[in-house]
Amino acid sequence: MKDRTSRPAAYDEMRDSAGGIRSHYQAFERWHDEQSAEAMAVRRLEADLSFRRVGITFSVAGDAAGTERLIPFDLIPRIIPADEWRLLEAGLKQRVRALNMFIHDIYHGHDIVRAGVVPAEQVFLNAQYRPEMQDVDVAEDIYCHIAGVDIVRAGAGEFYVLEDNLRVPSGVSYMLENRKMSMRLMPDAFSRIKVEPVAHYPDLLLDNLREVAPHGGDDPTVVVLTPGMYNSAYFEHAFLAQQMGVELVEGQDLFVEQNTVYMRTTQGPRKVDVIYRRLDDDFLDPLSFRADSALGVPGLLSVYRAGRVTLANAIGTGIADDKATYLYVPDMIRFYLGEEPVLSNVPTWRCSRPDELSHVLAHLDELVVKEVHGSGGYGMLVGPTASRAEVDAFRERVRANPANYIAQPTLALSTVPTYVDSGVAPRHVDLRPYVLCGKDIRTVPGGLCRVALTEGSLVVNSSQGGGTKDTWVLEED
């Protein structure tokens, strides 16, 4: 019997081990101390009402009644000091630069495979490898225009990248709305604390998208492609389109003629140059991918391959963010950039390797086990909090299909004090900064901070009952 209490105490972002307030939280804590419990309760209620009125709700997958739920917003921000952010930013840019070079390489000369850094089967036998993209040139050689990199902290200075989301990362609208909300509810805190702004993200995004328009088009037309209003992230799609001042289109609004993509407008067809698509590869073009997709645009792929429209992100980026490719990212950074990675990977076991599999099976109750292609917190096992029966059931699934799983040590994710029913208590958090890759690589300071509201839980996904916090990156002194 293993001692389940032996996990190291989590790093508290606000307090040091002696219980003192860390310097970057002191100004906030002074402000917070001055607030009565009632005033904070009123603010929490107001935040809730306001999110409902704005309609920042998400629909729950598989719920036909169209129930709309709020993602709980917590008033206590995650605060990041300027020097820590500098480090994170450098690491993020380095990582996304290497990942982008990797995708380009995979769909062109395969240097990294020939050099033996990444095994051929990991690339070419991967369901996320898109043969349609082989030797296709995309504008500015950019594939992952928008990346949402999940970062966790285990100890002081101990940041790990958990996942590189390079397909259609979501959540940036929450980052923006959370900031709006905290500035509205706690204006006096902002007047005392210098927080780096984030509201210019939509401008950066539009800039980024216009930069990657197909050659020869000045004043390119950018659109946001959504699967429609019943998609769980519809709010975000509409929000970004509105903030950028571009059309929000569905597949039915676009059509292909004479190797050009058009949208149907009240004044007739209008040419489209850049599509920020919030639709998975499989649904983009029923002629090339899933024939049953009613969400896509027939013929889109051929226009894309001809370089006459830009898709952001590019088709086939999934090859770089699956959980098995993840293992090779530090090597990619060394291979393409000749640099040491600034941000580390979480140590990871591949169940596809017999020796690593046996280690994983022997330590299931200590590890986090994930599906290679899974996302959203579905299909994963958190060993230390799972029941005996859950562990046993998972063991069978891993045995039956080892290559489908990877395992990682259960990191003691750092915590931030959070409003819960019993008062304020530490809850585990992660951070998803957004990285924009155009002619330059750019970030906005901070990102979306997700918080696991259940005591002890390490799963922060909103689909699993997680909430969000505003993230404050402090300005340099």
């Binding site: 009125r53 799609h237 509105q242 059309e247 929000l248 609004d253 059509f255 949208m263 009240t266």
Partner: protein, 322 residues
Amino acid sequence: MLSRTADNLFWMCRYTERAENTARMLDVNLQMSLLPQDAQTREGSWLGVLRISELQGLYGQKYASISPHDVLQYMVRDPENPSSIFSCMRAARENARAVRGSLTTEVWETYNTTWLELLKHLHTGLLERNPGEFFEWVKFRSHLARGVTIGTMLQDEALYFLRIGMHLERADNTARMLDVKFHERDGNGQESRGESAGAAPQSEFYRWSALLSSVSGLEIYRKVYRDVITPDRVAELLILHGDMPRSLLASMRAVADDLARVSNQRSTETERRAGMLCAELQYGRVEDILASGLHQYLDHFLDRINDLGNRISQDFLVPLSA
């Protein structure tokens, strides 16, 4: 602008306008029913409510008889009744949600809040407790939506399509209300056409003042005519008076003006038909309309409104390939 977006905007406003008009009609009917009436008149007026929306058949499938309670429930909160206030507000909000990126934040939040508040009012039984207050609330939310739209939206295509939807629906509703009220009178045979030019007897006074109230027209009538209420003038005010905001002429003028603003290569014939209709209203005389039969006139008018709606759909809203 995307055809689909224009379509959503058009219907968003039509449904809001319809919800408002339903509330107006129910409110006035409710107030009328507080006056001394015989049972037959009372039932007739509630039947009229259903007739305006062409719902007698559907209602009959659910309820055996016509009672104020059942009609109110059916017209306000029944999700199976496509014209109930509930259904209209739901459709308005769904349309708004589909195009929230084309609306200002304030407009979207107004629609969203209206929907959330409606759910709350229906849940807490405001309709049953104080129907007058509920109908006032519906009207107020519609006023608010209109005000926020005009006050915050860029004056571009989006606004024009919104307004086309709103005014087309308004013309439709005013015509229907007129038709039903005149039909009631003629059906009761209380008055022959020859006498209609004279002052109305007391019972008639309430009929016409109710009709005027339902379109916020009682005070306007007093101001315009400074005289007793006669059915002919009521018809004139609601059909031909261009300064009366809910009249057919005012509504159709607004439709024609906005159609000219969104004009495209396909829409010439639609604009011509809207212009014709306007001109006829502009130069029409109430004597001629009554002489040829008000019911036929309004019936024909509703057909033309319907035709315009279809043509607007084809010209602008339905996505065509090229």
